[in-house]
């Protein structure tokens, strides 16, 4: 009998498989919530365990999928509560999640994160199940020029995530792009701006920079407020998330989830880029773009749905072509190979008995995630009620360990401290930090793909305007910059009017 998705559910719901999935999701949430531990690291750490425990292919994949889904969601918990993104993808959620939390609505903010993640994940699962071959065929048409255009499109979002001051946002973005050039040149291998320091050869490490820019700078700001006696402990209200309010934004959720699935399906792109695309789309389609950054639901649902959408999307090229979409799927590809399976077109032909449980596990992992997320939101939100005199030192130690853990490097801790000082100065003078994050993610992608595209025979700058996909992406980029400038002017006018 031909295997079906129902049989996939039967396998995924077997006690042992479901148990490891549940453990995987819970552990993934913990890993994602710890600054410095990413989804990639979580999956990499648990892979040897699945081999050591001699798990079946279904159980092993259930656990790894659980960790992946859990960690991507979990990264947003500290981002919302203490302005410390657990994973790079959560940096976009922080921009509205943290202000909402500061207003006392921590439970609601966590609920929005959970709901947005769940919807994004489920929609991307549906797309993955029904449209995998079509999307992977389209993704195959992406070459260096298209990736460069995609990076430019991503960078154009700096204009809309800069708050009221696009010029300062642009300066932050360029500063970030310059930081991204530190280390080995991606094409020629020449070390740039390393000044003989081995720690810089691989570039400015992303996680420590993120921790410094957001966590340390927030600690310094809070010390300033606390010392001046202006600090008010946020009163916890709206502890239980309201589904009705979230469903109001269903169209935004569906749209951003679809975008996330597509972005995730492009090898090399991933959740980090998707989250910012989701934020940009939420702002672009909002009737009140000037309210973004003040703690509005769309600012959380957009990036979360898009980010989680990318989780299903990233599986598409891995399963259909055998090409990993990001680092996590590269490890999963290894896990499948260890189990004696070869991802690619033949997997769908010869091993549907593995493919369907895989799909079912993705869906179940999202269901477990929303269950754990909603049940725990009420309790996790209480973190914000911890006395700041205790919480700030705790954040410092967590940040130091988070910066260290990624590469077990004390040099990275120094990077985090330096970036913390830079981030604090930036906040004092109203330079937004988010463009630096975007630039650090997209800078290497833009530079390496531009240069590789221009190295191809018969290459010229004109190809970026004549190839259909690049032309469309560059047009989107121009549109995004114009929209960013317009909404910046609009928010400037709104502030003046309010005064």
């Amino acid at each position: 009998m031909e295997p079906s998705i129902f049989q996939g559910f039967q396998v995924a719901l077997e006690f042992g498989n479901f148990l490891v999935l549940f453990i995987g999701v819970t552990l993934g949430i913990l890993i994602g919530a710890l600054p410095g531990l990413t989804a990639t690291m979580g999956v990499a750490l648990l892979l040897p365990f699945t081999i050591g425990a001699q798990m079946s292919a279904a159980a092993s994949m259930s656990m790894l999928i659980g960790i992946y889904i859990g960690a991507i969601f979990g990264g947003s918990i500290p981002a919302v509560l203490i302005r410390t993104p657990g994973t790079p993808a959560s940096a976009a959620t922080l921009m509205d999640g943290f202000p909402m939390c500061q207003a006392g609505n921590a439970g609601e903010a966590l609920g929005l994160v959970t709901f947005g993640s769940f919807c994004g994940g489920m929609i991307s699962c549906a797309i993955m199940i029904f449209l995998s071959p079509v999307i992977s065929h389209f993704a195959e048409r992406f070459s260096y020029a298209e990736y460069f255009a995609l990076a430019v499109f991503g960078l154009s979002m700096i204009a809309s995530i800069s708050g009221g001051n696009v010029l300062k946002g642009m300066i932050s973005g360029i500063f970030g792009l310059l930081l991204a050039t530190v280390g080995f040149d991606p094409v020629s291998g020449v070390p740039r701006y390393t000044f003989g320091m081995p720690g810089l050869l691989d570039g400015v490490s992303f996680i420590p920079a993120l921790i410094g820019l957001f966590a340390f700078s927030q600690v310094f700001m809070d010390i300033s407020i606390l010392t001046q006696g202006k600090f008010e402990q946020p009163a916890l209200k709206n502890m239980i998330p309201r589904i009705g309010g979230m469903l109001k934004h269903w169209f935004l959720i569906v749209r951003t989830a679809l975008m996330g699935t597509f972005v995730g399906s492009l090898p090399g792109a991933g959740c980090d880029i998707a989250a910012f695309i989701g934020l940009n789309e939420a702002k672009r389609s909002s009737r009140h773009p000037e309210k973004f950054g003040t703690g509005i639901p769309e600012g959380i649902l957009g990036p979360e749905a898009c980010k989680s959408g990318a989780t299903g999307g990233a599986m598409i090229p891995m399963l259909t072509l055998g090409i990993p979409g990001d680092a996590v799927t590269a490890i999963m590809l290894g896990a499948l190979t260890i189990q004696g399976l070869q991802p690619g077109p033949l997997l769908f032909k010869d091993h549907l008995d593995v493919v369907y449980p895989f799909f079912a596990s993705m869906i179940l992992a999202n269901i477990v995630m929303i269950f754990v997320g909603f049940v725990s939101a009420k309790y996790i939100a209480k973190i914000v009620s911890i006395d700041k005199k205790i919480l700030l030192p705790v954040i410092c130690v967590l940040s130091v360990i988070g910066a260290y853990a990624m590469r077990q490097s004390l040099f990275d801790v120094a990077v985090a401290i330096v970036m913390g000082v830079v981030g604090f100065a930036m906040r004092k003078w109203d330079y937004p930090a988010a463009p630096i994050v975007l630039a650090l993610i997209l800078g290497p992608m833009a530079e390496s793909n531009l240069r590789r595209a221009l190295l191809l025979p018969d290459a010229s700058v004109m190809m970026f305007f004549t190839r259909p996909i690049t032309a469309v992406l560059l047009l989107f980029a121009i549109g995004t910059v114009i929209f960013g400038l317009r909404s910046s002017m609009k928010s400037g006018t709104a502030v003046s009017d309010a005064r």
Binding site: I31, L37, L45, L167, K168, M170, I171, I174, F175, L177, L178, T181, D185, V187, S188, V190, R192, Y193, F216, F220, M221, I223, S224, I225, L226, T227, Q228, K389, I390, L392, P393, V394, C396, V397, L398, V400, I401, Y404, A405, Q408, L410, V413, A414, I417, G420, V421, F424, A425, K428, W429, D430, Y431, E447, L450, R451, L454, L455, A459, V495, R499
Partner: protein
């Protein structure tokens, strides 16, 4: 108001100096490669940074001529008082010492000392709370990272 204006100017000038340095330094990385070499991207970015910084300086000077706009930017920025600034500097110094000492003494001891220092700096005086958090947290993190997740943390070793 003058403080804000001079701050904008200082940051603008610092950015121009930074951009000039990165532009000059990028020239060192010139290689004989086809297409765009390793100097291209950093030099273009440095030039744009210098340009935008100049625009930022000009805009802040223009702002200084308009008292209303200057008042607006004044109310947007958060003032840091001297005691607050002193505490921030002490926190940064504490972080640097914590980082440096961790190299020799590993993770647990310096973490306990840093937590005690920070809690005292922020005005916490409840000895029981300080003891519980400063000992409990490093041990808990050690357990999670080292024992459960198998992620090594800095350890004490004799370095000569």
């Amino acid at each position: 108001m003058q403080k804000i204006l001079s701050g904008e100017l200082i940051i603008g000038i610092l950015l121009i100096l930074f951009g000039s340095f990165t532009f000059y330094q990028a020239g060192v990385y010139h290689t004989q490669t086809d297409g765009v070499g390793p100097t291209f991207f950093p030099q273009v970015l440095s030039a744009v940074l210098i340009l935008f910084s100049l625009v930022s300086i000009v805009l802040s000077l223009v702002k200084s001529c308009s008292p209303q706009e200057l008042a607006e930017s004044c109310s947007e920025s958060t003032e840091t008082t001297k005691p607050a600034f002193r505490k921030i500097v002490l926190c940064i110094a504490g972080l640097i010492v914590y980082w440096a000492v961790m190299y020799f003494l590993g993770y647990i001891g310096p973490s306990i000392a840093f937590l005690v220092f920070m809690m005292l700096l922020l005005g916490e005086r409840n000895v029981l709370k300080i003891a519980c958090w400063s000992i409990g947290l490093p041990l808990l993190l050690y357990l999670v990272f080292e024992r459960i997740l198998n992620v090594p943390l800095p350890v004490f070793e004799l370095r000569i």
